[in-house]
Symmetry: C2
Subunit: 478 residues, 2 copies
């Protein structure tokens, strides 16, 4: 058990803009105001996690499971709820590849294994998980499962919940294992209740995951489509034709413009000329990435995709834009510190909707953000596409209101969330999860009955309510 203030400070809060702003102004605040845990516990295995929960039940102490600390929705803030103390339960020591079944292509990984370590451990068996979200470098297997993460190659590998074959969960009422078969009709799929439970129903200690052979070949490539509507129509066509590349990512005009502006130089100037000559006035960048066993296999898939893109007038840019994206794919979060230093309010938010509502949802979220922030830069991309719809990921930059930076963003975020849940047009989160920030919107999405069902499930496994209070579930009176 660690009680050193710096250790405790390191295990609260995540990486949202508000987390960063608060962390820059901690002087003079009390641990309670800062939501710092009273202690950090670092168990070595699932059995020890179980025993920590038993101790916390008997002493009525709140438990906040802590993985990579990359939540952007307040999911790992050390709230104590109605408990007199709170610990951060750091799962870093559950860092093993527990077992591999190469015949069934299932690997069991400890909850504390980080993205790169998962790939390193699996690569020794010639296997890969293929889950590469922007948080990859720090985030953990347990966190991916607890939050329904989606990686940049989700078109090829699926969302994290699609990879989950089984879970082991430590709860105040005992160890719980789920998942004995590839598919089942033995009642509701309770794995899908554990996945996405954000530490409120138990502490995920091990996850059995579908794995695949390490691809021998990768290919990244860029295209440009003229205008958002044409771009999103092309995305839809690819998704509904089974022609998505493993990575498929479409930026809107604003995101593409910023990307070009940040890469100013001769090359970009030539690119602008090239596009203008082809009549492309409102370029939207489409990045595609394929993985496969051979160049031939990729070529065959690529042929189908490119043929469909040509119908939408896509202009090929060769490999460099795709490769540039691939090199910088994890750098977004790191750039934020520099922008914060420069007085910029910078944050992302995301949603997903059915195709028939997608363009309208994008318009309404942009309007909401503009209404709240004056003249922000609002960029948007689709990075996860499905047969029935797609995600929308917004990056917002605005001049920071230094008198009230927190209030400024809270108002903008609320306007965006209300645009999403009005109707409802989309989901309050496609892959960032609920945490504290989205809890008040959950009721609009799953109904009063949905909230009651989640509360009932929680009471069944966590009768005294020690697990991650204040997260996921809306306040009783909201």
């Amino acid at each position: 058990m660690l009680t050193d203030p710096l250790e405790r400070l390191g295990r609260t809060g995540g990486l949202s803009y508000l987390d960063l702003v608060r962390r820059r102004s901690i002087g003079g605040r009390t641990p309670g105001e800062l939501a710092i845990p009273d202690a950090v516990v670092v168990p070595a295995d699932p059995g020890q996690v179980q025993r920590v929960l038993e101790v916390c039940v008997s002493h009525d102490v709140a438990v906040v499971p802590f993985g990579g600390g990359t939540s952007v929705v307040g999911g790992v803030t050390a709230l104590r709820g109605d408990k007199h103390a709170v610990i951060a339960l750091d799962l870093a020591r559950l860092d093993e590849l527990v077992s591999v079944d190469p015949v069934s292509r299932i690997a069991v990984l400890g909850a504390g294994v980080r993205g790169p370590d998962a790939e390193r451990l699996l690569a020794a068996h010639g296997l890969t998980l293929g889950h590469v979200p922007q948080s990859f470098e720090r985030a953990t297997i347990g966190g991916f499962a607890a939050t329904r993460s989606a990686g940049q190659a989700s078109s090829g590998y699926g969302r994290f919940e699609d990879m989950v074959s089984g879970v082991r969960v430590a709860t105040p009422r005992g160890d719980w294992r789920l998942g004995v078969a590839p598919a089942s009709a033995a009642g509701p799929d309770l794995r899908q209740l554990a996945v996405g439970s954000e530490g409120t129903l138990g502490v995920i200690t091990e996850v059995a995951l579908r794995v695949r052979p390490v691809p021998a070949v990768r290919r990244f490539e860029g295209f440009v489509l003229d205008g958002w509507e044409r771009g999103s129509s092309a995305m839809r066509r690819l998704a509904q034709s089974g022609a998505l590349a493993d990575v498929t990512r479409l930026s809107d005009v604003d995101e593409t413009e910023v990307s070009l502006a940040l890469n100013a130089g001769w090359k970009t100037l030539l690119l602008r000329r090239y596009l203008a000559a082809r009549g492309v006035r409102t370029p939207c960048l489409l990045v595609l990435g394929w993985e496969g066993a051979s160049k031939r296999e990729i070529a065959s898939r690529r042929k189908k995709t490119v043929a469909l893109l040509r119908e939408f007038g896509a202009v090929g840019l060769g490999s460099s834009p795709g490769e540039a994206w691939e090199r910088g794919r994890f750098s977004g979060p790191r750039q934020r510190d520099a922008l914060l230093d420069a007085g910029v309010c910078v944050e992302t938010l995301e949603t997903a909707a059915h195709w028939s509502k997608l363009d309208r949802l994008r318009d309404e979220v942009r309007s909401a953000l503009r209404g709240a922030l004056g003249t922000p830069i609002v960029m948007c991309h689709i990075s996860h596409a499905y047969e029935t719809g797609a995600s929308l990921y917004f990056t917002v930059l605005a001049a920071r209101d230094d008198a009230d930076p927190i209030g400024q963003w809270e108002r903008a975020k609320r306007a965006a969330c209300e645009a999403i849940t009005g109707g409802p047009l989309g989901t309050i989160s496609h892959h960032h999860a609920v945490g504290v920030d989205h809890a008040r919107y959950l009721r609009a999405e799953i109904g009063d009955l949905g909230v009651d069902v989640l509360r009932a499930a929680k009471s069944a496994v966590d009768p005294t309510g020690i697990l991650n209070p204040g997260k996921l579930l809306p306040a009783e009176d909201s």
Copy 2:
């Protein structure tokens, strides 16, 4: 409300062997012994379903939702639990295509729409659901969702739960709607709690389903592999290479032999000679079916599949075995009556397991059935394959013990279920669901905590416990 005895008798029990045996010996039994509902209610729309539930809550009457009546696990038996009366809630009038969103490829269908009607309604829009289980002709959309059905083309179209984009559920606490986006990280996926809930958490009234364009071309084809191990290895290779046909079904040697014996004649004799000349001593029939927009598209997929099959020494049989299977695909249940007349005990059971356990599971279930039934014919096939495992579907024929036909099958079924749940090696059901027959095995699969969570969820939406008593959940003391 219908109270005529014949109407009531028509809305209880399903199509299991035990249901058929019991139905043949109803003389002299009381309605209670026969589990006949006290009345049949046939509401016209979701609002009326909601009002029926309200009336049943206020009068403490049990409600058994009734769709096509094709359950083979006792799922629609009119049990009253601790209630003084029970009604069958027949959803036949919820038979509409409620809405179509062709852009998002989502159709909302009423719970009472039967398989062929769903396809007819969708075909008017050029769309198909592609869900074709053996119960297709009678079973309903609501039943498919409530039981996690899997169709014969599940490799191409997915299991029914994979098609469910949203659900509308009538509960004693009100109307409940779920599903606003193609994917979400807004907490646990409660759609996956409603799906598979078998009428215990509510009455599914409408289902929003992912649909696809009607395929222009279909192609069925047969192959033979020499021996089960080689056959199941080939299935695994196809599943793990993304090379499954939309229908992919492998029979074991016994099932293949019975199929050949039932089609005795010159053609079969020639086939036997043909296989013997190629050194195939233990033929396992593999039926493949592709659907697609063009012959070219199918040819391209087929090429990959056949290349992999050649590595396992598969012998091509051309189109006739596949087409013969396709013609007879719904006839299995109808043949049972003739077998029953002939004094045969005939039933099916099914499970699924990870690939590394699949062959052992098949051996153990066969041994268990032989131990209980003497010298039965036990046939087995894989009809649903996944990257991590596959289903096993057994058909059992034995000389009926006319002194105790029910006890005879109950002992055999119990032995098979114990072979499945010991370990556990597999799931108690891949697509037949839980009903009454599997309820006692649910605890082995989802743990005491899983059962407690389901009970808690039920209490949240059905506090007085009127919904489908005795189904899905094991008895309190088991």
